[in-house]
Point group: C2
Chain length 368, copies 2
């Protein structure tokens, strides 16, 4: 194999596919990046068997062929090459001679025979979404997934397409995050559970532009994201996701309107009083047009008032401060509505058309 | 004690003194920041008994007094306060009530009785240097100090004032870094060994401007840096520093002129071939007007040529690539001169007036 391509192309491609390289794998060939120049285009491929990424880079094939190169060494090397045309020449022992200007380096490569290519996904049922929307909807929900759970579906997100709506749901047993966006076209109903790892990685490799799109294809076991010259395939989680409609449709007894920023910075300050590893609730005392925020610990005490517009009953309720802050951080509205039922029931941070709903369970507190 | 001061002042002051707070100390009072408003100004002080920092902040003293506040909690808290006037009110049990706008927090403080103030340094023999020069001369030498060494002076730098010159020397047994700058005034000769920790911290808290100065006072056991409203005192290392003049004044057999950038990036690429923890020399083969750079390892091989202007004999010599790169990184000249004696003797990267000299010992290599 012999190829010539600009350093910038190679660097961009390697950065994209390296997201799917496992740091350690029982199949050591998977710790490589595959360069496949056997069929008219230069494809870079990496695959950790959960997600696989393939990208086509611009360049000239002088001699078709395939080689697998250690991902760590190759990625560092490509980054440190000067700009200009890079020649990669593989001999019959898979030794890769890499030249770029005056630079001359050899590294040992491997045959690509044992490498796992991406599974072939049938291209029916395409869903089109802008790169901006995909990145946003992930950012606004992914913090509510579980890190490790016996119930694996909690480590993923429900992607639910119905008509021209995409709804994404994440939950971890303490809270639920729901976002819904409108798509440009209408589709048949589809429900899949996408592992959070795939969502984290796709967020990093799309450019997030509102003008660029991602095509999403769904098969029984896989999801394929396709954009520009790049494809990313991930396994899906099997099983049924939780039905959350009932949980998030409760009536309320108390509704407050409050400044997102004031609420966020007040809760943020309360966390100063919490030692690492300790759990302390923040107590919210809602009365008339003021919410009083209290926390006590061995470090000290907080006692602050924030003005609100209240509708309904007075209420005292406690929360894990982190959970409230996580939700506030991804809500762009400056003024938000928070809904309560009673001190034992979850609160809801949501807007009128339910394009976002964040449900958070309270912490049991002794209300004197 | 009761003081009122702008959040910005408090935040700036706390950031400066927190550099001298130990993360853990057998004297737990030292894990605090002392606020001393007992004598007409608001002073913040921290002291880990190696270095001590004191800074005066603007504000109003409503009630004179002294309090020690846990540095971690207080620093975080100050950062998270909104901008505006902060009132700190200490009651007879050293409980600190902190108010800022609607914010109301209490934290437990301590009496400052056991706190260690900065040692008093006599203000004779001031040396004046610009903040820019001080920061630069530290950056350009400190990488050559030893991290841990039986010979403690290697963990510090020699500051040597003579006439209108300041010379700074650092060495770690493998290399020597020497920088010399001109001062605006002339001084009596002084030689002290300053611990690297003090130099690292002072670099962080000065602004590095060419228009602002630092006054340096030397006593037998201490160095005092004074600028704007801030003082930093550090112990000095006792003992004699190495005499390096002889070591760095050798004649040469070979001198090359080379592009700093080309040499740096070539050596940088060679490090790709080194596994973590492994030691591999880079072999430089100097011949006529080309230097050939070679490295071989189980990962692969490098073989590159760089054009040079050579004077004197041909030479083959090996170096630890990191040591050469460390020196090149802090030399601003685009074209540099490197001097060699033979393959067993150190090389010197230096300019004509010796305002910088980097000496690096070679690695023994088998030259076939």
């Amino acid at each position: 194999m012999k190829i010539v391509c600009p350093q910038e192309e190679l660097s961009k491609g390697v950065n994209i596919v390296s997201k799917a390289v496992p740091s350690k794998s029982p199949m050591s060939i998977l710790e490589c990046i595959l360069i496949d120049a056997s069929s008219g285009s230069i494809r870079l491929i990496a695959n950790d068997m959960e997600i696989g990424i393939e990208t086509v880079i611009n360049g000239r094939i002088e001699n078709p062929g395939i080689v697998a190169l250690d991902a760590g060494v190759f990625t560092d090397l490509v980054r440190k090459l000067p700009s200009g045309d890079v020649t990669i020449d593989i001999d019959s022992n898979f030794k890769a001679s890499i030249k770029c200007g005056k630079v001359k380096l050899d590294i040992l490569g491997r045959s690509g025979e044992e490498f796992s290519y991406l599974p072939r996904i049938e291209r029916n049922d395409k869903v089109i979404i802008s790169q901006f929307s995909l990145r946003e909807i992930i950012r606004q929900t992914i913090f509510s997934t579980a890190d490790n759970d016996n119930n694996k579906v909690m480590c993923g997100e429900l992607f639910h397409v119905r008509g021209n709506k995409l709804r994404v749901v994440a939950l971890d047993g303490h809270r639920i995050a729901v976002r819904e966006i409108e798509l440009k076209e209408s589709y048949d109903e589809k429900k899949v559970i996408v592992p959070k790892k795939a969502l984290n990685e796709i967020s990093k490799i799309i450019n997030g532009s509102i003008d660029d799109i991602v095509d999403i294809y769904l098969s029984k076991n896989h999801i394929l994201f396709e954009f520009e010259n790049t494809k990313m395939v991930s396994r899906l989680f099997e099983g049924d996701f939780f039905e959350v409609d009932q949980m998030i449709s409760a009536n309320y007894e108390t509704r407050i309107k409050i400044s997102n920023k004031e609420l966020h910075s007040s809760i943020d300050r309360s966390t100063l009083l919490i030692k690492e590893g300790e759990k302390k609730p923040i107590i919210m005392d809602i009365k008339d047009n003021v919410i009083n925020m209290k926390m006590s610990s061995i470090i000290g005490n907080m006692d602050e008032d924030i003005e609100i517009v209240k509708e309904g009953k007075d209420l005292v309720i406690g929360f894990n401060p982190k959970f409230i802050m996580d939700a506030l951080r991804v809500v762009d509205d400056e003024e938000i509505y928070v809904y309560f039922v009673n001190s034992k029931s979850p609160c809801f941070i949501k807007n009128e058309n339910n394009s976002y709903v964040y449900m958070i369970l309270p912490v049991n507190v002794n209300v004197g």
